[in-house]
Symmetry: C2
Subunit: 184 residues, 2 copies
């Protein structure tokens, strides 16, 4: 952040009075520009013990499989956001059953909220951001072609819970991937 | 939002290619400025069936009581944010027990995540944003002096669950308050 989005002046990084973190502050109009984590909302759409996954038509992770999920928008609820993403990515209509997983990803300032959901019909097809949409039974999940670690963890929890007969809420934190060169 | 925080040019409200909502877009550098809901994280600190509340020293709702909670910061987890807010507002150290409530407040673009927590000691005292901090048994809760509807709902759920012997996760949506003149 270089300029004040309110008045256009160049911002300064400084500690506002009474605060304990440096913020981008406008020296002209005084606006403090807070930056906060973003929510990613999505769901695990189920039909008859099979899960709907989408193959991504966009970066990052083009060509890999994910559950429908995306950035929550202003003015919507978390569940409505999950339904909207499912409609956008898979043209699929779902009933939200309950919150299933929360993942903190502090190094990229994101929080994932994933819901259990029930597909209302089988009239789904890829949206603009998907190459392919299909139902997978547990033994068909493309474990080596999943787009995100959140998806892998969620599906692991899901099938484990399904086997045990009880779906519990799961919370976890995703750490940065170790660098392949052994550094950092 | 009037100016691009990246290059300082005046932004335009337009529909980016492939998007379905108007965004503030910079005509000079092309940056799309997304605006998303903010997470408020906090907890219900318990000690021996009593709950720690803070009386607010700041607006909004100066002088009214709340559970410790505030905006989640970049780089932290939801639980760490709840612990940090509890330390800042009440100088209290807590162990986080689990997610207890999620409230959507779509008309102000906020999502509350409140955790059950256990106070680790009784050495709490008001932080800079609190006038007073104290433990309340159920029959002592100042129901008519609570700062936010989220606090009222959370405490209602909490004591009801406590009575039933099982703490369940709760999710809800807060609608705008009806206007007193009967309009809107």
């Amino acid at each position: 952040m270089n300029f004040c989005s309110n008045c256009g002046a160049r911002v300064e990084l400084r500690l506002p009075t009474g605060d304990n973190l440096p913020r981008h502050v406008c020296p002209d109009c005084g606006t403090i520009h807070y930056e906060n984590p973003k929510l990613v909302v999505g769901c695990i759409p189920e039909w008859d013990a099979r899960i709907l996954l989408c193959r991504r038509a966009i970066e990052p992770r083009h060509g890999l499989w994910t559950v429908p999920a995306g950035f929550m928008e202003n003015g919507e609820t978390t569940a409505a956001g999950a339904q909207r993403e499912t409609l956008e990515e898979a043209n699929a209509r779902v009933e939200i059953l309950g919150l299933y997983a929360l993942f903190n990803i502090p190094h990229i300032n994101q929080v994932y909220l994933l819901f259990r959901a029930r597909l209302l019909d089988l009239d789904f097809h890829p949206g603009a951001e998907s190459l392919e949409t299909r139902l997978f039974a547990q033994e068909e999940i493309p474990w080596n072609e999943l787009a995100f670690i959140t998806v892998r963890r969620t599906l692991n929890h899901y099938f484990s819970d399904q086997q045990s007969g009880e779906f519990r809420f799961h919370m976890g934190t995703i750490e940065p991937m170790p660098r392949k060169d052994g550094g950092g």
